[in-house]
């Protein structure tokens, strides 16, 4: 299976961050409120994935 470069994951993190105010400005209301949480969950998932698969350090 093709290994996705770290740069792509970092772009995905940036997209999650930028999408928060975009969602608030365009959609608003409850969708933006809980949508921000959903974007944060995606962010946290990517962080976890990167840590476990690319940056896990045995000595830590």
């Amino acid at each position: 299976m093709m290994r996705i470069p770290v740069a792509v994951w970092l772009l995905a993190l940036a997209a999650c961050f930028i999408a928060v105010p975009v969602l608030a400005a365009t959609v608003g209301g409850w969708y933006a409120y809980w949508g921000t949480m959903a974007l944060s969950a995606v962010w946290a998932g990517i962080m976890l994935w990167l840590k476990l698969t690319r940056y896990w350090e045995v000595d830590e």
Binding site: V20, G28, G29, M47, L48, W56
Partner: protein
């Protein structure tokens, strides 16, 4: 109908129920402290325990120190007062910041292995500099005392609202019990107490948040009311400024004033979770965990990071039901929303359970911060200046210092309470985010960082913090704009830290090799096990003692 629900008032039953619930939580925390007393005999054990904390305790303790009275009490006030634009200080994206803390903070273990016992000591070991340690310790004490004031305001408000009695005596008792479990239980006792408190407010926050939405008539009804609502100032001063959008043009000192303020608030939440010393210190006593355990830690963090949004929902529900009536309740105003919703939904029992959650959140953050400050004084100042001081003397000093450090912010709150809880605390939060995210967290990963970069960031951050819109910034435009000020503090810290680091000389490579060991290359097929072991030893040098 929801519209006919009266604003609840304290009764003897609610007063009794609240007192019993809060005391039960505090007594349980104190018993945990005593349980760990016999395991905290030496100064080292008191400061970091036995480095055997697992992922569940670490995850819950981390969220407990992270989610404070601001999140479990102030958030409802934000959404009640400012509508959707309050979301930015509610921290709807707080999980982004705390997951970053989980990823970066785990490396604290490496520095504990090298002798670090406090967060500033990580900086001393990393930069081989006592100056950085002392400066970081001093900055932490100042900023954490300011942050503690907000915790006492949250506890005082919920106590007054639910019991109708004077709060000073009760808070002093709370402070004493908190001091007891820190003093006797040390790091391990505090960490487990934090975990208990984190679990309490996660469960309660979720239940009350979801229930409040339906209590107020459902999400559509709430959204409809907020869309039509205007901002009402303290005392009930009506305006025509709508609060139905994600920005509210109240004035430049408000974080949700415009999109610049919004971006600044987002960066604050991204950096401050890692920048808070009481958060990153949760990893000092963590044991080595497996990948599966690490995932459990992250899952717990993610679940509890939803709790602030649940509390925010309670504020929106209160606005939908009572309109802006709470803005006439001096001196608590919109901050009363969550407590009153809990009383209206659950009567004395609801009030008691929710009050316990608020106390858990506030006291856990205070406990985490007081531990940091007590060790700052005993380790980062006394031991730093007098390295020959006996460990038992340091232990005694640290335990004694817990008491004034818990009383000083209490006295501040009593004599000069901050008018708006979350806005007050965000001032300290921005400075902590700007300074410690770089000086502590980034320095653990960036080899080129230097002690002068760290010193410059601390000095700049503390000076720039004084330009807060409610301090000197009000007379110094454009710093009367919260977004400009916050970005100036955080961005400036980053810039100063990087530029000064690049202009000055880092530690020699042989010293840096201790902090940044090369990854071990997989053994070559032709290598014998003995050769592979020898290669590994060469690549991972033994820890060097930092210059005293």
């Amino acid at each position: 109908m929801a519209d006919s629900i009266p604003i609840p008032v304290p009764t003897p039953e609610s007063s009794m129920a609240v007192t019993v619930c809060i005391m039960a939580m505090l007594v349980a925390s104190t018993l945990i402290g005593f349980y760990f007393f016999r395991r905290s005999k030496t100064y080292d054990e008191w400061m970091i325990g036995h480095r055997d904390m697992g992922p569940i305790v670490t995850g819950l303790a981390l969220t407990a120190s992270w989610l404070s009275g601001w999140a479990i009490f102030g958030n409802a006030g934000l959404s009640y007062t400012y509508g959707w634009s309050g979301s930015w200080l509610i921290g709807t994206m707080n999980l982004m910041g705390l997951s970053l803390c989980v990823v970066m903070g785990y490396r604290m273990r490496r520095y504990t292995g090298l002798g670090a016992r406090t967060v500033p000591e990580v900086a001393r070991i990393r930069f081989d500099s006592r100056l950085v340690q002392a400066l970081a310790g001093g900055a932490m004490i100042i900023l954490l005392i300011v942050y503690s004031v907000g915790q006492y305001k949250a506890m005082a408000s919920v106590w007054t609202l639910t019991t109708g009695t004077g709060w000073l005596g009760s808070l002093v008792l709370t402070a004493i019990l908190c001091a007891v479990y820190i003093v006797v239980g040390g790091y391990a006792g505090t960490q487990v107490s934090l975990a208990l408190q984190g679990g309490i407010f996660m469960v309660i926050g979720w239940i009350f948040g979801i229930a409040s939405i339906y209590w107020a008539g459902g999400p559509a009804k709430i959204a409809e009311v907020i869309a039509a609502a205007d901002y009402v100032g303290k005392g009930g001063a009506a305006t025509t400024i709508p609060i139905g959008g994600y920005t509210t043009a109240l004035g430049p000192s408000y974080a949700g004033y415009d999109w610049l303020g919004v971006i600044a608030a987002m960066f604050m939440f991204l950096l401050m979770a890692t920048g808070f010393p009481q958060n990153i210190a949760r990893f000092l006593g963590t044991r080595k965990v497996t990948k599966k355990e690490y995932s459990i830690l992250m899952l717990l963090v993610a679940l509890n990071c939803v709790t602030p949004l649940m509390i925010g929902a309670m504020g929106l529900a209160a606005r939908a039901v009572w309109g802006a009536d709470l803005m006439t309740i001096a001196p608590i105003y919109g901050d009363a929303a969550a407590s009153l919703v809990s009383m209206a939904m659950g009567g004395p029992v609801g009030a008691a359970i929710f009050s316990m959650a608020v106390f858990s959140a506030a006291i856990s953050t205070i406990a985490g911060m007081v531990m940091i400050m007590a060790t700052n004084i005993s380790r980062d100042f006394v031991y730093n200046l007098m390295p020959k001081t006996q460990p038992r003397v340091l232990l005694l000093l640290a335990r004694i210092f817990v008491i004034p450090l818990i009383i000083i912010p209490l006295w501040w709150t009593y004599t000069s309470p901050p008018p708006v809880l979350s806005e007050f605390m965000s001032g300290s939060a921005v400075a902590q985010a700007g300074i410690f995210f770089f000086v502590i967290a980034v320095s653990m990963y960036w080899k080129r960082a230097t002690k002068w970069g760290a010193v410059a960031a601390i000095v700049y951050g503390m000076a720039a913090a004084l330009l807060h819109p409610n301090v000197w910034g009000s007379a110094l435009p454009p710093f009367n704009h919260w977004g400009v000020w916050a970005l100036t503090v955080m961005g400036g810290c980053a810039l100063v830290y990087v530029v000064v680091s690049l202009l000055t000389k880092p530690l020699p490579n042989e010293k840096l090799a201790v902090f940044f060991p090369q990854k071990q290359a997989p053994a070559q097929p032709s290598q014998t096990p003995v050769e592979a072991q020898a290669q590994a030893q060469v690549q991972t040098p033994a820890p060097a003692q930092p210059t005293q």
